[in-house]
């Protein structure tokens, strides 16, 4: 027996099926947890916020329309909003705005520097990136999301995501090299 499709589960969940809600949680919880893990830099926070994301999913399911966004993209948007709210509540320092364009014109990276990428190093480096850069790294290279879906989650054009991913990778590389 094949697993029910996501649209089918969503449809049943919208009609009030707790089992369908549980199945949606099981299907997408790993994605949301991973996203929040790297987005917030804390396993505990990621765990708490993951629960919040799915509670909001339950609350807002009646308003969800498949034509607006793929279901997972919709969940990522909820997760992103919660992560931003969490950051605002807990940040020891106000958000600093960094001009991406100026950063992008920084000197070329030294190709000889080897970067040893670990969870901890990535988390630490991501924390120093601009919010949008952090989002695009996690969605594109941790979550494996394509350009179109990433653009849908971040409300940007695909061209803008392409530019952002280049700047984000360069900034991340630079940060990891400095660590």
């Amino acid at each position: 027996m094949t697993d029910p499709s996501t649209p089918d589960l969503v449809n049943r969940a919208q009609k009030g099926s707790p089992a369908a809600v549980g199945a949606l949680y099981a299907r997408f919880q790993p994605n949301i947890y991973r996203y929040l893990f790297f987005r917030t830099g804390s396993a505990e926070t990621a765990e708490d916020l993951t629960g919040e994301v799915f509670l909001r999913m339950v609350e807002n399911l009646p308003e969800y329309r498949p034509t607006q966004a793929p279901f997972l993209a919709w969940l990522y948007r909820i997760a992103r909003n919660l992560a931003i709210d969490h950051h605002r509540r807990t940040s020891a320092h106000p958000e600093t705005e960094i001009d991406e364009e100026l950063e992008a014109t920084a000197e070329p990276l030294d190709d000889t520097i080897q970067v040893n990428l670990t969870h901890a190093a990535l988390q630490q480096a991501l924390a120093s990136l601009q919010e949008a850069q952090r989002d695009v790294i996690v969605l594109r290279f941790i979550e494996g999301m394509n350009i179109a879906d990433t653009a849908a989650v971040l409300h940007r054009t695909q061209d803008s995501i392409k530019a952002l991913q280049r700047r984000a990778l360069q900034a991340l590389r630079q940060t990891l090299s400095d660590q």
């Binding site: 549980g22 609350e59 020891a92 705005e97 001009d99 100026l102 290279f141 280049r166 991340l172």
Partner: protein
């Protein structure tokens, strides 16, 4: 295609090859020479993809899944029985004969729909979609002004509804023709009239009673219009990008990024073009259009009529809206107009949000030399780091981000043609910097203190700009706002608590007590609505009324201010309550 765009495309092609199974070596060896510098980024992307993925603790997973299912069960049980009855009747109707009738009905409806769409606009044209919902955003339906609910991402907002954003919240409305309106924090906007007409022309009339909105209006089709009304002045456009700020009940500020906007008030009209702004006071004609400026820096001289900040003097008069009571040495944000005679006029002065220098102006390029541009009478130097976007020429309107050098010269960091469609980004000048002399007071660090020492936090953190605005908005002391903030509440929560208190004639402490008891903000709001329903008021206005003073200075109003400041609020409940 410029160099960066080419690199973006080449990088994406390389990443796509990796995604489709090509090895890293294959991808790197296929890179054209001009893209060789992308190799480190591609290697890093490959490493990130190969990382083992973190997973939630299995026990936590099972517990959380059960909690989510319980929440769904509770929600399902709470659905009105009336709906169940309706479903039951629907099933009975759907017999074979009934199905035939329904099919005939659907066919007839579809044949009419094509014509109706042309005549009356696309289906759903009288609603807009709410996206990018951040923080506390409320949608108040026209049918029940007291019964606003927190907005959901993707929610449809119908004609007549009001959207309100609380402190540090924002949202975007997307209309059926693709036009967009962004609501900044502390804003309130009503979709008074929203229709689609002949050939899909949009007719939108919005009433903005508070805050700031930014509008990107796609060129309207014949018969369409897009109007934004404020208590002082009305803006009407055909297709443009513009901002509207309601400074208070008497004053509004209109700015145009691209296109033309007619601003009307008291029977007079001024036409704003690219980069221009005007100020409107209730009962008076709109002010002369001028080019916009905004600057953030330390207030150096406060001597009317001329103030000085960020080494720039500007006129302050009785029309200027001043939030808080800025003193020399405070960090402020000033927005205003540069008039034709070169006079800088401040229309809004508010506490600065960041300890960073930001200097912007708009104007028309009148001369370009190798390293010196003349823009609406102002000399702006350029250097190798100056970004120039959109190829502006003499006669074009531009937006400039600049810094002031030690010798007083202005050095442009970015000169952007106002027709350039690329996203506006903020060039923030980190200070102190060797070349910049603009002295900026860093944000008081006490606001950033750990919140386990509330009193210390309040004493040293009294200058937080958002707190100053909230104190002004809710007519309470700054210390009172900061005392809540220092107990761990976000400014959005504080704004919400005071607004609920004002609406329900309670004091803010009572609202925060409910929150501390573990209730969600949604539950608290619902209780206040029910409370209002039980005790009808002659009239209700969703905006916070400045005539109501729920808290005031706690010392002047014992029992009405914040509670003991030693306890941190309970952590918000993260799992559904039984």
């Amino acid at each position: 295609m410029n160099e960066h765009t080419t690199l973006d495309e080449l990088l994406q092609q390389a990443l796509a090859s990796l995604e489709s199974g090509a090895s890293l070596d294959e991808v790197l060896s296929a890179l054209p020479p001009e893209a060789a510098r992308l190799a480190p980024a591609i290697r890093l992307a490959a490493q990130a993809r190969a990382l083992s993925m973190p997973q939630m603790n299995p026990v936590a997973f099972q517990y959380q899944q059960q909690q989510i299912m319980n929440a769904a069960q509770q929600r399902s049980e709470a659905a009105p029985a009336r709906r169940q009855g309706l479903f039951a009747r629907s099933r009975l109707v759907f017999t074979a004969g009934g199905a035939l009738l329904i099919i005939l009905f659907i066919c007839s409806a579809l044949s009419l729909l094509g014509g109706a769409t042309y005549l009356f606009g696309p289906p759903g044209a009288n609603a807009a979609e709410l996206t990018d919902v951040q923080g506390f955003v409320e949608v108040i339906p026209v049918s029940n002004a007291a019964n606003g609910a927190f907005a959901a991402e993707g929610q449809r907002v119908r004609q007549g509804s009001t959207i309100r954003t609380y402190s540090e919240a924002s949202a975007t409305l997307v209309f059926f023709d693709g036009s967009r309106t962004v609501l900044a924090p502390d804003s309130q906007l009503t979709l008074t009239s929203l229709h689609g007409r002949w050939g899909g022309a949009m007719q939108a009339r919005l009433d903005q009673s508070a805050g700031s909105t930014s509008h990107t209006v796609v060129p309207l089709k014949p018969g369409g219009f897009f109007q934004v009304n404020t208590p002082a002045g009305q803006a009407a456009v055909q297709g443009t990008i513009f901002d509207v700020s309601v400074l208070d009940s008497q004053r509004s500020f209109f700015t145009v990024t691209r296109g033309k906007v007619a601003v009307q008030n008291s029977g007079s009209e001024v036409l704003l073009t690219d980069g221009q702004a005007t100020f409107v006071q209730s009962g008076l004609s709109p002010e002369k259009p001028g080019y916009q400026f905004s600057l953030q820096g330390v207030l150096q001289i406060k001597a009317e009529p001329l103030w000085r900040a960020a080494n720039t003097s500007f006129l302050v008069d009785t029309q200027t809206r001043i939030i808080g009571n800025p003193q020399e040495g405070d960090s402020i944000l000033v927005a205003g107009r540069i008039l034709g005679d070169g006079q800088w006029v401040a229309d809004l002065i508010e506490p600065a949000k960041q300890g960073k220098a930001r200097l912007h102006l708009t104007g028309v390029v009148t001369d370009i030399k190798t390293d010196l541009w003349k823009i609406s009478g102002n000399n702006l130097y350029t250097d190798a780091d100056t970004q120039i976007k959109g190829d502006p020429q003499v006669g074009d309107a531009v937006r400039v981000q600049y810094v002031i050098l030690d010798n007083g010269d202005w050095l442009a960091r970015l000169i952007k043609h106002l027709d350039d469609p690329t996203e506006e980004e903020s060039v923030v000048e980190e200070l102190p910097k060797a070349t910049a002399t603009v002295e900026v007071l860093p944000l008081n660090e006490s606001t950033l203190e750990p919140k386990n020492d509330t009193q210390r936090c309040v004493e040293r953190g009294g200058e937080h700009p958002v707190a100053i605005k909230l104190a002004d908005q809710h007519d309470v002391s700054l210390e009172e706002i900061m005392s809540w903030y220092c107990q761990g509440y976000g400014f959005g929560e504080i704004d919400l608590a005071y607004s609920l208190a004002e609406q329900s004639e309670q004091n803010a402490s009572q609202i925060f007590d409910l929150r501390k008891s573990g209730e969600s903000w949604g539950q608290i709001k619902q209780e206040q609505i029910e409370r209002l329903t039980r005790t009808p008021k002659p009239s209700h206005t969703p905006l916070p009324s400045k005539t109501v003073k729920p808290g005031g200075n706690p010392q002047d109003n014992p029992g009405n201010g914040p509670p003991e400041k030693t306890d941190k609020p309970d952590r918000p409940t993260k799992t559904p309550k039984k």
